[in-house]
């Protein structure tokens, strides 16, 4: 490829990444609406607004690569190609959702797109990518598996067990810490004795880097470099420095931080930053960007409608998927009671 071609590619890539970030932002806003309509399954909804630069990592992954996310994983999955309608339906607990309305916002997964599962246990999904890495190593498949998690998970012991095994066995794994500065109400300086997290990863033998979560291109460059190494068996750690724009979940009004701090944090807006960059560099004309924004909004409105009007799962489905079809399934209580109290035939 000529240099010109590569820059074209990079440019179109930037525009594509902007579009994806905007779609994430619009999606999360609709999740808020879904909740306000009283149509969400529960209130444990964790918005990734302010963390859209994860798109930079998603774009550094190949088609066959897999990943797990934490509870704040909507953005990552959208960046990996999720259908927002099926996501929103899952968040609403509907049969048409990715998980038949059984998992909800914190447990979205999709085998087809390599999403091995969002997890509601902080740190719970991290070792799964090491297991995936083991599969890829043994098969020489060249795939990489990526764990996305928050700064809070940096204090979970299993992360270090997982990093050590990836390092010891040189597995194709990437550990991505989305540091949005908070675990619920606890700022990172109140949760970590020392929070140069890359130093921790290095001490376990990983290639480590930090990237500014305001700049999706910086994140993308860092991720591309680490992914190339990981594919060769040099597991890596990437910290994305971001800010959680809103409360931990829908109920949290963040009384534990100042409006000033929030204003500063929200100024570090990856979507706005990318938009400005595109206009400044002339890579994206205002009308094009406006159209992208409008399309994203419209797309997510449809997703919201789809979720609201979709069917709730039928009662008997509750007994499905506990075990694989064709294997002994749990006996419903009603059947048990009937067997005990029903007249002996």
């Amino acid at each position: 490829m000529t240099a010109a071609q590569t820059t074209d590619l990079a440019n179109s890539g930037m525009l594509a990444r902007y579009r994806t970030m905007r779609r994430i932002r619009s999606f999360e806003e609709r999740v808020g609406e879904l909740f306000l309509k009283g149509e969400s399954a529960g209130s444990m909804l964790h918005l990734s607004i302010g963390e859209e630069a994860v798109v930079g990592v998603a774009d550094a992954m190949d088609a066959g690569d897999t990943f797990t996310t934490h509870h704040r994983g909507h953005g990552v999955f959208l960046a990996r190609g999720a259908d927002p309608a099926r996501m929103m339906a899952e968040i609403a607990g509907k049969e048409a959702g990715y998980c038949r309305g059984k998992g909800g916002s914190m447990h979205i997964a999709d085998r087809a797109l390599g999403h091995l599962g969002a997890n509601a246990i902080v740190g719970g999904g991290i070792p799964h990518v090491v297991g995936a890495g083991l599969t890829y190593r043994n098969r020489g498949s060249g795939q990489v598996s990526v764990a996305f998690f928050g700064d809070g998970a940096m204090q979970q012991g299993i992360l270090y067990e997982a990093m050590n095994m990836a390092s010891l066995w040189q597995l194709p794994c990437i550990f991505v810490c989305i540091n949005n500065q908070y675990g619920m109400g606890t700022r990172v300086d109140r949760s970590a004795g020392r929070h140069a997290f890359d130093a921790r990863a290095e001490a376990f033998g990983l290639a480590a880097a930090r990237a500014d979560g305001t700049d999706v291109e910086a994140v993308h460059d860092a991720a591309r470099a680490l992914a190339a190494g990981a594919r060769e068996g040099r597991p890596a750690f990437l910290e994305i420095d971001a800010y959680r724009f809103f409360g931990h979940a829908r109920m949290d009004k963040s009384p534990y931080r100042t409006p000033e701090e929030e204003a500063e944090g929200r100024a570090r807006d990856p979507v706005g930053h990318a938009r400005a960059k595109l206009t400044q560099t002339g890579l994206g004309a205002e009308e094009d960007l406006a159209r992208i924004d409008a399309e994203a909004g419209a797309e997510m409105d449809l997703a919201l409608d789809f979720a609201v009007t979709a069917e709730a799962p039928g009662m008997p489905t509750m007994f499905e998927d506990v075990y694989a079809p064709g294997t002994p399934a749990p006996r419903p209580q009603a059947a048990r009671l009937a067997a005990i109290l029903g007249e002996p035939a």
């Binding site: 309305g101 246990i121 719970g124 809070g152 799962p313 489905t317 509750m318 749990p330 006996r331």
Partner: protein
């Protein structure tokens, strides 16, 4: 002092506050117990009253938190470790079952671990499979632990105060669906002694045994049953360990029928243990089999209707109890 109306949440907060004022060695340690005031607001404001050395915001390190509480308890403090959801207990079972519960025994009685592990469980918020479980059966199976699950506002206060005087580790499990529940708190008057079940309603036709949130479903069911001429006795276990079985045995031998209710997945549950014991102790007095009602043996689904449908409620309890007494099957069991 006379009774005042308050909430289950407030009663627990009051118990912590009073215990901390009474005993300077009581410290709280857990995620978000300080500045945030607790994920469910139970510890709100306590950090302002007692400072960051006694109300300790911990990193997301459940195993470490319980391990720290064990060491603090061994050396003279009386820690209240908080596990935000009982669903996370899988991360701390080693510290709980192998360390906290066994230290006194392994060390020949030298070193006790007077700590309380406060946590909450149960369904009701569409919090899905990893935030809605009832895992008390695991704790019941560990010699060395005590296990308490209050259902009423008054018990929430008194049993927690009592737990904070115990020489051995106590697992204190609250129910997320009860925090906003109102009831009378009488600081001078517990519902009953530590370790003794309480008869919450008397009746002659059958005995319904429940605990935690299911107690209220059972009482609601008893009300319905009364309207149908069935008098149910309702007993609240309160403390699962220690447990004085005598009141249960006395009641079941008198009524001849027992329904044991739990919100947990039925297989391997507390209800199974109680049923097995009653089957041994009340055999000659039974008119009908000791019957268990519990959650379906499935993970908790997020869809609200499925979640509700997967655990017992007043209606199911009432219909099953009536079935047990009258032998007339309810509609849903007709076919």
């Amino acid at each position: 002092m006379s009774a005042v109306e308050t909430t289950y949440r407030e009663a627990i907060r009051q118990a912590l506050l009073d215990a901390m004022e009474a005993d300077p060695d009581v410290v709280l340690i857990g995620e978000e117990v300080g500045l945030y005031g607790g994920a469910y607001g139970v510890t709100k404001g306590l950090i302002d009253l007692f400072g960051a050395h006694r109300v300790i915001d911990a990193p997301i390190s459940e195993a470490g938190i319980v391990g720290v509480a064990v060491g603090a308890a061994m050396t003279g403090l009386r820690p209240v470790a908080e596990l935000m959801y009982v669903d996370f207990v899988g991360l701390v079972m080693d510290q709980l079952a192998n360390q906290a519960a066994k230290s006194r025994y392994m060390f020949g009685g030298q070193i006790g671990v007077p700590m309380v592990l406060r946590t909450q469980g149960g369904t009701g918020r569409s919090a899905a499979a990893q935030h809605s479980q009832s895992l008390e059966a695991w704790m019941l199976h560990i010699p060395g632990l005590r296990l308490v699950m209050p259902a009423t506002v008054n018990d929430a206060y008194h049993l927690l105060r009592a737990a904070l005087t115990q020489p051995d580790p106590v697992v204190f499990i609250e129910h997320k669906g009860l925090y906003t529940r109102k009831g009378m708190l009488d600081i001078g008057w517990p519902d009953g002694d530590w370790g003794v079940p309480v008869v919450r309603r008397s009746g002659r036709d059958l005995t319904i045994i429940a605990y935690s949130r299911m107690l209220h479903e059972a009482l609601a069911a008893a009300e319905v049953l009364a309207g149908q001429g069935v008098e149910a006795e309702v007993i609240d276990l309160r403390c699962l360990n220690p447990l004085d079985e005598a009141p249960l045995i006395e009641s079941v031998c008198r009524t001849g029928r027992a329904l044991v209710v739990t919100e947990a997945a039925l297989t391997g549950s507390v209800a199974s243990e109680i049923a097995a014991r009653l089957g041994e102790a009340c055999f000659d007095w039974l008119e009908e089999p000791i019957l268990r009602l519990g959650g379906e043996d499935i993970p908790i689904p997020v869809a609200p209707a499925l979640e509700r449908g997967s655990i017992p409620d007043a209606r199911l309890i009432a219909e099953t109890a009536r079935w047990l007494v009258t032998r007339e099957a309810p509609q849903w069991a007709a076919q």
